[in-house]
Every structure is written in C-alpha cells, then in structure tokens.
C-alpha cells in the first residue's frame, strides 16, 4: 500500500498569494494513499528539505510529492533530499503549482482548485513510480584522435597531458597537416614551422600518445565509453621499427622528378621520401604509384627492376612485399580533426561545381593558389623562401591576389565564406612586400572580413604600412599574354574597368572538407552538411560535440577555421574528453526504454524510429537452445529516453522508465475526478 507524503511550498508569497496552501494541504491529505501532508514557507531551504527528510523517516514514505516550482527548478534538490533520507530519488516528483498555476492565475479559488488537481495528478503518478538505479557504463579512458594536423595535435597533447591515453591516426606519412606547409602565420607573422615542430616532436615523445602515421580508420564499433576502432596501417614499404631515418634510400632513388604534394606541386620529390625534413615520424614512405619498380611490375615485367633504395638501406628496412595491416584499439571517445583541402579550380571539377575556366588555373603556370604561394614564401620551400614565379623563375614585380575564388559564389563555386582568405591574402601581400620592396601587390576583394583579435589591424597594416593596393571588385578574366599574366577586373568603387599586366597571380581558393569525409562520417555515424562539413550537436551550445555521444570535432572539418580557432576547438574537445574520462563509470539518468523480451514480437518498428540506433537484435532460444526468434533490446548506454519506441510498439513490449503507460494513465485518470 502506497504511503505518499505531500509537501506544499509557499515559495514566500509566490505561491501562497494566489493559492490557498492550507486548503491544498487539507484536500490532498484526504487523497487515497497520502499519509502525510504539510506546507512550509520555503520548502527548498535547508529547514524545508529537513522537513521532507524527517517525514520520510518518520512515516517511512514510499513516495514524495513536492507541490512547488517547476521540476526544472528543484527536482534535483528534492530527489537529493529524498535520497539522503534513504528513499530512492526516483520516487520523488514535483507538482508544478508555481509556474503553471500561481503565477498565471489571479482568481484564488480557481488557482487553488487547479493546484489541488496538479497535486493529485502527481500523487497518482508517484503511486506507480518504481525505484530506479542510475545507469553506470564503464569508460575506457583512451581517446582516438583522427587527423594529425594542428587541431589533432593539440587535442592529442591536451588529452594526454590530462592523464589519458591517446591513439593518434594520421593518413599521411607525417603529422603536421597544412600548418606545416605554411611559411608565416597571421596575425603575428611568426614562422609556422617554428611553433609547430616542437609540438609535433612532443607528440612523438609523449608516453601516453600512440601514433599511427600513414594509417586510416577502417571501422568504428560500440558506443560512448566503449568504442572499438579498427585502423588500417597502409603499406609503407618501410619497416617502421628498423628504419632510423638516415635518408640514404631517398638519396638513392633515381626517380626524383615527382611533384611534391607537400610543396603543393611547386617542388619535386623522389619516389621514396619523407614529405619534409622535420617530418614526424621521420620514416620515409614509398610512393608505389611513381616507383620505377612498381611501375614495371604493373607493366607486367617479371624481372625486378631498380631496387636502389633497398640496396642503399643498411638497416634492411625497405620491404617491397609489405601489405596493409590492421590494428584494433579500444577507446572511450573519438575526436575528429580531419581538416580541409583547398578547392582546386582546375579543369577537373567535383560534381556540382563549375570551376573557373576564365582564371586559367592549371594552364597558366604563373597563376597559383594560396598554398603554392606559401611554399614559395617558405624558407623550407623549393625556392628557399625567395619568391620566384614558376614559369621562368624570375622574381615577379607585380603580383595580383584574387580573393573569394570559389567562396561566396553559389552559382559556380561554394556559397559559404572560407573565412581565412582575407587574412592570409593580407599576409601574402606583406610577405611579398617584405621580400620585394619595389614589388607591387594588388588585391581584388569583395569585402574584407577581418573579424578577430588583431585581425583588422593586420589587414590595415598590409594596406597602410606595406602599401598593398586593394581593389574592391571581382576579376573576370585571367590569361597569359606573352611574358605577362593579364588580369581583367573591375573597380566597383571607381566604377572603372581595371586591366593589370601581372607577373604572377595568387588565387585565394576556397576551403573544402577533406575528400572522403562523407565515408568517414558514415563510419562514425555522425552527420555532415551539404558541403561535407561535420555537423556540431548544437551550433552555439555544443559546438565541439556531434549528435553521437562520445564523438567530438575540432578544426576545419566542422567549418572553415583558422589556426587559433582550430586550437581552441581542439582544447575544448580535450576538456570534453577528459570530463568524460573523469569518472570510472558514466552515470546516466535511468529514464531509458526497456524491452519486455517475453512479449516482443521482433517487428523492430522501434528500430525504425529510434534516433540513436539504440535498438539491438537479440536471439531468443527455445528450451533446447535452438534460436527460435529475434527480439529487440535497448542499449541503455545509447538510449536517451525519448520514448518514441514505446509509442510505436504494436505489442506494447517497450516501457520508458519514469514515464510508463501505467504512470501516465494514472495521471490521466486522476484528472477524471475534477
């Protein structure tokens, strides 16, 4: 037999002004199942809570109803009080007679009647409440970080420094990402390598970071706190344990004219190579597409050719037979930091993009993109930091910079603003002017978007101190005319057509997500937008979480981001991950769905509607142990407790704890008596 205690709060005058609390107490005292009923001025105060505890102990109550404010306000408070008195907290409920009654009605009689009704409803519900235990899920205190760019590096280091283990997966042969390609960084113009390289080395040497370079995520199973990641270590043709990074193989390789990806095509590399001297790990990779030996094999030539790198390697680390291998890692959280790619506006265009034939990119050698300019300006670049144009290696006297190439162009390119271009173009003009004092830097822009600490000052500096000439308007045509690159543009401020005879043109091309991001997102079952950027759980309040618990995002995989933002996001994900790892077990509200496997007919209507994929298939066996059917089971680790499955279950085999049919019908019935 239920023994319910009712506690009516005056909330000072807030409730008592319009609700006759004494009458509520009286009326509810006589309600079947109620053994105790009292009121107090401030029920949420310590003495108020003490009343509740006392009553629970004295009348050994089986349920508590607090007629006061909204459960969103004080449910935790009173459930806590109940727990202190040894009552299961989930046997305590609140009847909202403030927000939903005293505050919105003037007529005392009406309000009091309503308050009584609300009290009754909740009493009836509480009669059917059952003790619930908070769900506890074990947590593997190990994080998987996908992507070894600055975001991934920052996330990995922060998490590892926080005491948790980290598995860092990088698809290229070295970590460092785009930042390692940059010459200087805005708005401080400090050298990118100088600030990044130490962090890269830290990653390598960190006792709690395990680095899988030249590897990719093959698959991810499980749920928050309990993921199992399978990682494909791509065949590197070099034994990572034997190699000591001496570089002899690289020196021995005969095919040295391969366009270097790291130099964005402005420099050359050999077939077996480390992308750049400061690479981490400093272990070469053999590019089987361009390797003479493998080319010959593909041509069907039996005899082994070349093999010079193998001969050169004293450690015998070169292994032509090596194949992709797989490792599995147990992790509790995942950070996605796959970064971006620059929109290549050349002849081959991805579906849905028209490209910019009129800009001659890919045809005119002296029309390059931002990353190529970075390499030309970089001290570690192919020109040793001298800005020389690709066609004839001469220093360009006039350089035109075109902003918004592909960005903010819903018709031919991409509708969004790539955000970093205004800043890096300003930086480029400075780098150029600092190296070529008599040079002329002309920038075509639509708007200058330099929001950020010290950003606008930076662009101003480019214009006012370094004398970059900014022209507001778009460029309509770029072509090679003998020795010069003709640039046709329009100055919308002066209303004149502008034709520039440039020596070199730098296109600030748009930022796009990495290729293959969609496949990755599917592997992780996280969502992405129409451009391929990963969706955050909430654009303002949960910017580094995804809609899948335990998976977080950092950097340019979520939207165009600059370095400071990427780093900030990375540290934010680290905080999230470390928070998740702070307890040995995850505590979850027990208000989750529960399947009655006896009555489940295995139609899996629930599976169709579950937004979280929490429904699992379970085999049921007959007495001999033969599988005789499949039923649904809810994974409490994943279920968020929306109850949609309950409503659609045709056999009424699912219940949502805390909101069972029984409880809700009891509430409805209670209302029947008004």
């Amino acid at each position: 037999m239920a023994r319910i205690g009712v506690f009516v709060c005056h909330c000072g005058e807030n409730i008592a002004r319009t609700v006759d609390c004494a009458r509520v107490v009286e009326e509810l005292k006589s309600h079947p199942g109620v053994v105790h009923s009292e009121d107090y001025k401030y029920m949420c105060s310590d003495p108020g809570q003490a009343l509740v505890r006392k009553a629970i102990e004295e009348n050994d109550l089986t349920g508590v109803v607090v007629c006061a404010c909204s459960p969103h306000m004080h449910e935790k408070t009173f459930r806590g009080a109940a727990a202190k008195a040894g009552l299961n907290p989930f046997l305590c409920e609140m009847a909202n007679i403030r927000e939903h009654c005293s505050w919105i009605h003037e007529d005392r009689g009406e309000a009091t009647d309503k308050a009584i009704d609300i009290g009754r409803t909740i009493i009836e519900k509480v009669k059917h409440n059952v003790p619930l235990e908070t769900i506890r899920i074990p947590v593997t205190k190990r994080a998987l970080v996908i992507g070894g760019g600055i975001a991934g590096i920052q996330a990995a280091l922060d998490i590892a420094d926080g005491g948790a283990e980290v598995v860092l997966v990088e698809k290229e042969s070295s970590i460092g990402g785009h930042m390692s390609q940059l010459s200087e960084t805005f708005p401080t113009l400090d050298c990118s390598q100088c600030i990044l390289t130490p962090r890269m080395v830290e990653v390598l040497q960190h006792p709690r970071i395990k680095l899988h370079s030249y590897s990719e995520l093959e698959s991810l199973e499980g749920y928050i706190g309990n993921f199992k990641a399978t990682i494909r270590k791509k065949a590197r043709s070099v034994d990572e344990d034997l190699c000591n990074g001496c570089g002899d193989c690289q020196a021995a390789c005969p095919s040295r004219k391969i366009a270097s990806e790291f130099d964005a095509g402005t420099g050359k590399r050999s077939a077996i190579y480390v992308p750049f001297p400061q690479a981490v790990p400093n272990i070469p990779v053999l590019d089987r597409v361009n390797c003479t030996r493998f080319k010959a094999k593909r041509k069907g030539i039996e005899k082994d050719v070349c093999g010079k790198c193998q001969e050169a390697c004293l450690k015998g680390a070169i292994d032509y037979e090596q194949e992709d291998s797989f490792v599995t890692e147990d992790v509790g959280a995942v950070v996605v930091a796959t970064g971006f790619q620059l929109y290549s506006i050349g002849r081959d265009q991805p579906a849905g993009l028209k490209g910019y034939g009129e800009y001659g990119y890919g045809d005119v050698p002296d029309v390059i993109d931002g990353m190529q300019f970075e390499r030309l300006a970089s001290a570690s670049g192919p020109t040793g930091g001298e800005i020389l144009r690709p066609s004839d290696g001469k220093p360009p006297k006039t350089v035109v910079f075109v902003q918004c190439v592909g960005s903010r162009d819903p018709e031919k390119g991409i509708p969004y603003c790539s955000k970093i271009c205004c800043m890096y173009t300003a930086k480029h003009t400075m780098l150029y002017k600092n190296k070529m004092h008599d040079g002329k830097a002309i920038v075509f822009y639509m708007d200058i978007r330099a929001g950020g600490k010290g950003y606008d000052e930076f662009t101003r500096r480019a214009i006012e101190d370094d004398g970059a000439q900014y022209v507001r308007g778009r460029v309509s045509r770029i072509y090679r005319d003998g020795d010069v690159v003709k640039v046709w543009g329009f100055d919308t401020l002066s209303g004149e057509q502008v034709v520039v005879d440039a020596d070199m043109v730098v296109l600030a091309t748009a930022m796009r997500p990495q290729p293959g991001i969609a496949e990755l997102a599917q592997k992780l079952s996280i969502s992405y937008d129409e451009h391929g950027f990963i969706n955050e759980a909430h654009p303002k309040l949960r910017p580094v979480e995804t809609n899948t618990a335990g998976i977080y995002i950092a950097g340019a995989c979520q939207a165009p981001r600059d370095i400071p933002e990427s780093v900030a996001m990375a540290s934010a994900t680290a905080a999230k991950v470390l928070g998740l790892f702070s307890a040995d077990e995850l505590e979850r509200e027990p208000t989750v769905a529960l399947v009655n496997e006896q009555t489940c007919i295995g139609c899996f209507s629930c599976e169709q509607v579950c937004p979280y994929g929490a429904i699992e298939h379970v085999d049921v066996c007959d007495v001999e142990g033969h599988i005789c059917g499949v039923v649904a089971r809810v994974n409490p680790g994943i279920c968020q407790g929306c109850g949609t499955c309950v409503a659609v279950c045709p056999s009424k085999s699912v219940e949502l704890q805390g909101f069972t049919d029984e409880q809700i019908y009891a509430e409805i019935n209670a209302l029947g008596s008004w």
């Binding site: 403030r98 009605h105 509607v609 409503a647 659609v648 009424k652 019935n669 209302l671």
Partner: protein
Amino acid sequence: MDFQPRITAFVCNWCTYTGADLAGTSRLQMAANVRIIRLPCTGRIDHMFIVKAFERGADGVIVSGCHPADCHYTAGNYHARRRFGVFRELMDFMGIDPRRVTFSWVSASEGVKWKDVVNETVARVAELGPFDAYHELAGDTITGGEPAPDPFEAAGGAETSDPLEAHEVGR
C-alpha cells in the same frame, strides 16, 4: 461563460513544458482550465492517451511539442506528427470532433504562444460545449489498455496531411 471546459495537455519536457514555465515566470495570465501532463517528448505520446483523456471526461486536449527540427531527441516530434495524421482519421470514426484537439508547436522561448494556445483552445472548446459522448468510448476505464492500432498502418497516408498545421493556433 458559465461552462468551464476541462482541457488536458500533453506536452514535451524540453520545449513546451519549459515554454509554459516561461509563461509562468513572465506572469502571463491565462485561462485556468488546462491540466498539463509532462512527457519526455511528443514522440512518447500514444494516441490512446488522448482517447483516454476524453474518456475520463476531458472536453478538449492540447498536444504540444518542439518545433520541427528542434526536437531535443532529433526526430521524436516528426514521428508524433506522423502518428497524429492517423489519429485524426480515428477521431472522426470515434465521434470526437477534431476541433476538440489542438496540435501545436511551442518552443521553450514561446511563453506568449503557449498562453495563446491555451486561451484559444479553451475558447474554442467552450463554444463546442461539453464533451458528453465519453461514456460511449470503448474500453476499460481503469487501465485504458485498449490495443492501440498500429500507428504505421496508415502512416503513408498520414504524411500527406499535416495535422499539426491543420489545427495550429497561437501563431
């Protein structure tokens, strides 16, 4: 008016319940005829709840949750909307005037809208007069355990009409 309709409201915990809280904290005065039953999500609402409410003497029902795409549980309100499509057909069949049921979206920030939904529903139901056909409603009055018709049976047809729109008020 002399007749005071009795309205039962099924609202989701995250949007409408919070919206109603906001109405309270903003001291928005409204009709006192509504009794709220809090659910985690409109997706949880089995439409037998509504039938049961009428059977227990409610003259009108309000069902309100998050706006489309705002669902705390990403999709619950869509499934709800889809099922109400089926339910509307059912109501005619059971002899319940569809105007007695208000489907609405009230977000956590729409205290004012909640007030309007309440007042307009109360006014509408008041005009329709008491719902006295409840004793004709089939089923055991205590547990209300009638087998609910499979909501997906007619779901296909449901998608064409949009009940939440059909009766939405307080825009």
